[in-house]
């Protein structure tokens, strides 16, 4: 449970920086900057639209 983020949370990608830069994401009410490498470690099992 790193950074206090639990499993089965909805992740919203708000924007992505240019030139393969980091993502700006939102999980619950928390907004984070996350690099591509760290983002690739997130396991997305399903998406509810």
């Amino acid at each position: 449970m790193p950074w206090g983020l639990g499993a089965e949370k909805k992740i919203t990608v708000l924007r992505k920086a240019q030139f393969k830069g980091p993502f700006h994401i939102m999980i619950d009410t928390t907004e984070l900057m996350i690099r591509e490498h760290e983002a690739s470690l997130i396991n997305i099992t399903s998406a509810a639209l």
């Binding site: 449970m1 206090g4 639990g6 984070l32």
Partner: protein
Amino acid sequence: MKRIAFLGMPNTGKSTLFNRLSGSSARVGNWPGITVDLHAVKTFLGGHMAELVDLPGIYDLQGLSEDEKIVQSFINNNKIDLAIVVLCSTQIERQLSLLLQLQKLHIPCVLALNMYDEAKKMGIAIDAVLLEKKLKTPVIKTSAKYGEGMVELLKACTQVINQKVSTPIKKIKPLNASDLISNEKTIQTLIKLTVKYPTKLNDKNTKKLDGLFLDPYWGLPIFFFIVFSIFQFIFTLGKPIQDLMTQFFNFFRLDYLEPLFINHHGIFESLLLDGLYLGVTTVAAFVPIIILFFLIMSVVEDSGYFSRAAFLMDTLMEKIGLDGRGFVMMLMGFGCNVPALMGTKIMRTKELRLLTMFVIPFSLCSARLQVFLFIITALFSATYGPLVLFCLYLLSFFTIFISALIFKHQFKNKEPIIIELPPYRFPTLSQIVKRSMIEIKHFLTRATKFIIIGVLLVWALTHFPMDVPIASELTYSGQLGKWLSPIFDPIGINEQLVIALIFGFIAKEIVIGALAVIYGVEGSALAHHLYSNVSQIQAISFMIFTLIYTPCLSTIATLKNESKNLSFVIYSVFWALLLAWVFSFIFYQTSLYFSS
């Protein structure tokens, strides 16, 4: 004595709450199992003497980051009578896990729902009474920023520390998957019962500002404009104050101190005035810029813009092993390296912070600029002078990038870079002032000793033996210059210039003053003397060396204080000296080859 620990995730206002309750009179203490400084303060609470300890912000008791290891070690090695768990009310669903983990260790807790004012603004409502009942832990709504809920919080703390604790506190053990799932389920249930979110989060300002500040086209120009404005503000206001202070110190020396020694000329007077007084005033002259820097930085940091700057610059900085925040600090270093080094505190990972501190001293600071302006004006025409200065700035950037690129594997950041982008906030005036005062106190108490020792050493080198002219070739520094000539001759730096470089070790501002003492002429006469005795190629080589070689004593002292690692300081000074020599050598020998 009761021990009360403040725990919470980063950006929850934990330290603000700690300062609010402790009156920011915290001292730095030593703790079993802990090698880093923690702030603590003694106070009287509920009929007991209590010690409040501010622990670093952590996400998890199980984490492997430096800060998390510190907290784990503190909990396992020190008796805690009460933990004040501070969480940001707007992120309660993410932050409750820390409280649940502490409760499992049987540590008595009080939960502070901090920044409740922000939650209200966003339309989030928390039923604190029900939450308290479900958690079996006092829950208090607070706003440390505005001092709300402090009385209630102290009352709850008093009640808890006066309760008899029958269950022994456990040591931290690794959580397994079922523990994590169980925690997560408990949190979900608690949130469903006690927290009401609006259908749409009511934080339009943050969305609008992010739209502007993180715009793919306008984001970077706005960022450079903001940094440039901060830089301009600090130095437009700070430099004249610094100059005024220097003038005052000179006036005080000439009119009050020197007359005291009118009948006692000699080594004692020189030691006091040229050694100790110079050392103390060198440190004091930095204070105005440091005050301004931290006043502005606390506004920028607390506003949430810093994380946005990191987002914008991260793509470039990632390639050299740094992150976006490092770029902001590097730019600040172009004003003064000292506050820029102190500002790297915002980085949580040790390796990332060390690499950033490693490269900051290569930023062409305002003190080096003074030296370069004097030499350029003396030796170059108005057409070529600005070009030389521009090339020195380019070299400064190049040195930073090349050093980071070379050492990024040595200071390899093993932790993921995930930076929180908090909502935009504006800190209160008292928060800004308190924070700046703490930083200045740290700078003064820690840097002074180191700087005075350094100044006394250079004083001894330039004043002994006693029967020869000060700073002449016959003094130890002069002999050192002669001894070092096989090293400096190939880069075109003569013995007199070597002595000036030794002075420059204290502060770059005194290089020109040192040259005046060495050559025995001042101002325009010194400029003329340099023009007649030093070639343009030699001058550029000297400026390249001055730009890159060991930073001033205040910077070295700060590097030592912030890294708490003497080997790191020696390593970075040695690298700077090596790089300075190599670059000067390449320039000087290539220029000689082509000019002949």
